[in-house]
């Protein structure tokens, strides 16, 4: 009997563990690694991106609500200012409810980097690096790197000009080559190392690239100025602080591929 209950325990435990890890990879797709030349490469040095799993959709209001129910310390009234500024979840009607103005399936915005990072960690995931995000986002519907396709760039720039796209629901823009939705066309997204962008000392202050401010600043320069859309993304990242919560800025998570 004793050994029987042990077996049951092991089985139940095993089932829980496997559903758990299954749940974690749910709604994620494989981004097959490769080499690309980022906008801010070092003398056109290619960057190698390892294969990883990426969320198919950005995190939605509803997803975030679930997170808040589990981790109430991240509610608007509880989140510390060091980790989330005064605009954190400001568009939510109540402390723990989004209200009737926001669509449950719209992407969560007005979240800080700390909050986004925590959310991903609590799913057993993490935020993508700038390189991972840019790598996955080079793809259009049909090819993994569409950066030279004029219509692709035009589409992104048209979105940057379009108002209130954050009101749309997740999955409402195109599905890219990897099977990922909404990398362009919905909201901008946090990246793990957003503070690796060194366009200037302080983009917020519009200071010039200055050797007084950076070691090795001469190495930083645009390698593909054709890609104006990417330029805007880097500039935007460079203007952020980690506790900023911005209206059109959301996030999604990624995960390393477990080596069996």
């Amino acid at each position: 009997m004793n050994s029987f209950s042990k077996i049951i325990t092991v089985l139940v435990f095993g089932a829980v563990v496997s559903t758990h890890s299954l749940a974690q990879s749910e709604n994620m797709v494989l981004i097959k690694g490769g080499v690309y030349i980022p906008l801010y490469g070092v003398d056109s040095t290619a960057v190698t991106v390892d294969s990883f799993l990426m969320d198919v959709y950005p995190v939605s209001n509803n997803n975030y609500l679930t997170f808040l129910q589990k981790f109430p310390e991240w509610k608007r009234s509880k989140a510390k200012r060091l980790f989330a500024d005064g605009n954190y979840l400001i568009n939510w009607e109540g402390d723990g409810n989004m209200g009737s103005q926001l669509l449950p399936d719209a992407p969560i915005t007005n979240v800080s980097w700390f909050a986004a990072k925590k959310y991903c960690e609590c799913q057993g995931k993490r935020l993508p690096t700038v390189d991972e995000w840019e790598y996955a986002a080079m793809a259009d519907e049909n090819s993994p790197d569409a950066r030279k396709t004029p219509s692709y760039n035009q589409m992104i720039l048209d979105w940057y000009e379009a108002p209130r796209s954050f009101d749309k629901t997740i999955g409402s823009t195109f599905k890219n080559y990897w099977g990922v939705y909404d990398l362009h066309g919905l909201v901008w997204e946090w990246t793990q190392d957003f503070n690796s962008v060194l366009i200037s000392g302080e983009s917020r202050k519009d200071v010039d690239k200055d050797s007084n401010l950076f070691c090795g600043s001469a190495a930083v320069g645009a390698s593909d100025l054709m890609n104006y859309a990417a330029f805007m993304r880097y500039a935007f990242r460079g203007s952020l602080k980690a506790n900023y919560s911005v209206k059109n800025l959301g996030f999604r998570c990624v995960k390393d591929i477990q080596i069996e």
């Binding site: 057993g124 690796s196 962008v197 070691c215 090795g216 930083v220």
Partner: protein, 207 residues
């Protein structure tokens, strides 16, 4: 670590429950109880860096949490020891600041250099760097942590950095001053810039 070394050990024991809280904070059931423990324990303000749970290693190979530094004025900068260009100047700036702090106030000020290259900057390397640069007095603290905690800490300081080659990083040169509660009160950006304001702020805060 001078006089707060013993206190440090004591605090570390007191901190255990909090550490545990952070360890389990992504578990399935973050109890209201554990949250309450956190709130009761501290008078840490919302904007204090002592909210950061990260654990660092000093040049003396001791583990330390930022909040163990509570009560001191902190002057912080992020560097890496193999840096050839701006860092020696940043280090010189820090030394110049240190030299202007009156002797009577030195005990209440800690000057901290946080490595952005934790893979290279081992405690031993930081120790050597401290000795070479005449920064081996108890006023100086060198910290190295995980890559992730370093990235997070930089985010708090609004410091940007990026590895641009196996040897080199590009990074912003910002000296930050924190008050005794761990709140950021002053930042100065740039190299060899006038440090008068920074020193004034430190002297005003320190007792």
């Amino acid at each position: 670590m001078k006089h707060y070394k013993i206190e440090l050990m004591f605090r570390r024991i007191a901190l255990l429950p909090i550490l545990l809280l952070f360890l389990v904070s992504c578990g399935d059931h973050p109890t209201a109880e554990s949250v309450a423990v956190f709130e009761n324990d501290t008078a840490i303000s919302e904007l204090s860096i002592y909210n950061l749970p990260s654990v660092w290693t000093t040049q003396n190979n001791e583990e330390i949490e930022l909040k163990e530094l509570q009560g001191n004025v902190l002057v912080m900068v992020m560097i890496y020891t193999s840096c050839q260009a701006a860092c020696p100047r940043l280090v010189a700036d820090m030394r110049a600041i240190e030299a202007q702090i009156p002797k009577t106030k030195k005990d209440n000020v800690t000057l901290i250099l946080v490595s952005i290259d934790p893979l290279t900057d081992t405690p031993q390397r930081l120790k050597d760097f401290a000795i070479t640069n005449d920064m081996d007095s108890p006023s100086w603290l060198f910290l190295t942590g995980s890559e992730e905690d370093t990235r997070e800490f930089a985010a708090v300081l609004a410091v940007s950095y990026k590895k641009i080659s196996p040897m080199d990083f590009s990074h912003s040169n910002i000296i930050s001053v924190f008050n005794q509660k761990g709140e950021l009160v002053h930042q100065k950006e740039g190299l060899g810039v006038n440090n008068e304001e920074t020193v004034e702020k430190i002297i005003e805060l320190a007792h």
